[in-house]
């Protein structure tokens, strides 16, 4: 039974090819299959190493990208929670105000999130990241979709490892190419140098600024790089 499900989803993934232009590898294919099959509006795969360190691998649209970045800014949300607990996190109605994530819930509501589901990606004995699914209207995942999502998360791990270690390493996994949040890292370095503070401290100040001004972190980083925000703004 479980094997049949796994095989069916495996076929759905492998009958497609990775989008060479997007550079999102097999992880991108898994996201596309998730949106098609699981009754959700958007999907994203994020590799996480700590609560505060993440790398967006693939997202089906700008909305999912924005929601992943929101979690990167705040260090909280369904993906972060699934990664730290190692358990799926299922929020069928984001608007119930459970105050699990005081920062994320409000911002997600403004962004029009009705429901969010996050699945940890297991690799050996650790977690590699999460498969995050978003709906615009509130609804739980039915049993069938939930089982498919769990199986698809297992396939996502395989997809990531294939992207990272196959004959052809996908652009998202290459250390020598800039990552999705490269500007944030550069701005962090600039700010740390300018204010003579630690990198962690610099990152924290960028994040605080983004959160308090309701701006995406990458936009704040761009503003710093283009000298549109004075570094003094971040001084204590």
């Amino acid at each position: 039974m479980g094997d049949q499900r796994h095989e069916r989803l495996w076929r759905l993934v492998t009958e497609r090819l990775p989008d060479q232009r997007a550079g999102t590898g097999w992880a991108g294919v898994v996201c596309a299959v998730a949106v098609e099959r699981l009754g959700v509006d958007a999907a994203a795969v994020t590799v996480r190493t700590t609560v505060r360190t993440q790398q967006l691998v693939a997202a089906t649209d700008a909305w999912a990208e924005e929601l992943e970045e929101l979690q990167y800014t705040l260090g909280e949300g369904p993906g972060v929670a699934a990664f730290t607990s190692g358990e799926p996190v299922l929020v069928g109605d984001m608007g119930t105000g459970r105050h699990q994530w005081p920062g994320f819930e409000g911002e997600a509501a403004s962004a029009g999130v009705g429901a969010a589901f996050a699945f940890p990606l297991q690799a050996g004995t650790t977690w590699l990241g999460t498969l995050d699914l978003y709906r615009r209207t509130p609804a739980t995942l039915d049993a069938e979709h939930l089982a498919d999502a769990v199986a698809l998360a297992a396939l996502t791990t395989t997809a990531l490892l294939a992207d990272a270690g196959g004959d052809e390493v996908a652009p998202w996994a290459r250390a020598d190419l800039p990552g999705h949040y490269d500007e944030v890292n550069i701005a962090t370095g600039m700010l740390a140098g300018r204010l003579d503070i630690s990198l962690d401290d610099a990152m924290l100040r960028l994040r605080a600024h983004a959160f308090s001004h309701h701006l995406p972190l990458t936009e704040v980083a761009q503003a710093v790089l283009q000298h549109r925000i004075r570094p003094d703004t971040f001084a204590e």
Binding site: G165, A175, G179, Y181, D182, I186, G189, L199
Partner: protein, 271 residues
């Protein structure tokens, strides 16, 4: 080996009539053999160590092949040595060492032959197959043997091997039903070995991936530090990092990390 109550288990299966249905035919829901196989398959799915999986397979062998007096798993490393990671009796290692010493024996045959998965002898004392190993094994008190190949398609550094079943009585372990059961169980053992290899590979790649992504973050931060210090753009900062890493013969990642870690205390003259 774990402390299973093998004796009791074995008694249960011996109690089964000798003409019991073949494990893969007959009525799967009611045959104790089929139940044993089903239980093993289910348990295997939740066993994540190779030792645990092989242990379970051997336990099942003991249960479904009543003539099995000694069971061992032998793995051959790329240097040709024989390793005996699991055995129900310390004489399993001894038997393997004899095969290694004489360079002949059922386990070597099973692992060596292509296509033939099983090697059997019901008369170890006088078998022409293994003129030296045979009598030596008989001296240890074992007169029948059945060896089944494991991971037949192994390529270095992965090891090929065999699952060996020994019986103290002559003329045993040669019937078709025993052979079928041994083959089926050896398949499970091979799968367990292959699966563990995959898990290990996943962990390895996962660690590499993690490192690559962390390196990338640090390179980004180092670029920012240089941009601030030199008033240059991101591309120029990356070029400077790369050039310096070549000039100083330090890895780019290491250079970036030093710069990121020490930027408040050090003023690297080259940068």
């Amino acid at each position: 080996m774990q402390d299973y109550d093998w004796t009791q288990d074995k008694a249960e299966f011996v109690a089964e009539p000798p003409d019991a249905p073949h494990p893969m035919s007959g009525t799967p829901d009611h045959s104790p053999l089929a139940r044993q196989f089903a239980l093993m398959t289910r348990t295997l799915l939740h066993t994540d160590t190779v030792a645990g999986a092989l242990d379970l397979v051997m336990h099942t062998v003991q249960a479904v092949i009543p003539d099995a007096d000694l069971i061992s798993i032998t793995l051959r490393s790329s240097d040709g040595r024989l390793h005996t990671p699991l055995e129900t009796d310390p004489r399993g290692t001894e038997l393997d060492q004899l095969q290694y010493r004489y360079n002949e024996g059922p386990c070597l045959d099973a692992a060596r032959k292509e296509g033939t998965a099983c090697t059997h002898s019901g008369d170890l004392a006088a078998t022409p197959q293994w003129p030296r190993f045979g009598p030596a094994a008989a001296d240890l008190g074992f007169l029948s043997v059945l060896s089944t190949a494991l991971v037949a398609d192994a390529k270095p550094p992965r090891m090929s091997g065999a699952m060996n079943i020994f019986c103290r009585k002559p003329g045993k372990l040669g019937d078709e039903s025993t052979r079928d059961r041994a083959l089926l169980l050896a398949t499970h053992a091979s799968l367990a070995l292959a699966h563990t290899e995959a898990v290990r590979l996943a962990e390895l790649r996962e660690a590499e991936l993690r490192k690559a992504l962390e390196t990338r973050d640090v390179i980004g931060q180092a670029k920012g530090i240089l941009m601030n210090r030199r008033g240059i753009n991101a591309e120029e900062a990356f070029d400077l990092l790369r050039r310096t890493s070549q000039d100083l013969n330090i890895k780019l990642a290491e250079l970036a990390r030093t710069l990121a870690d020490r930027h408040t205390e050090l003023d690297v003259p080259e940068l």
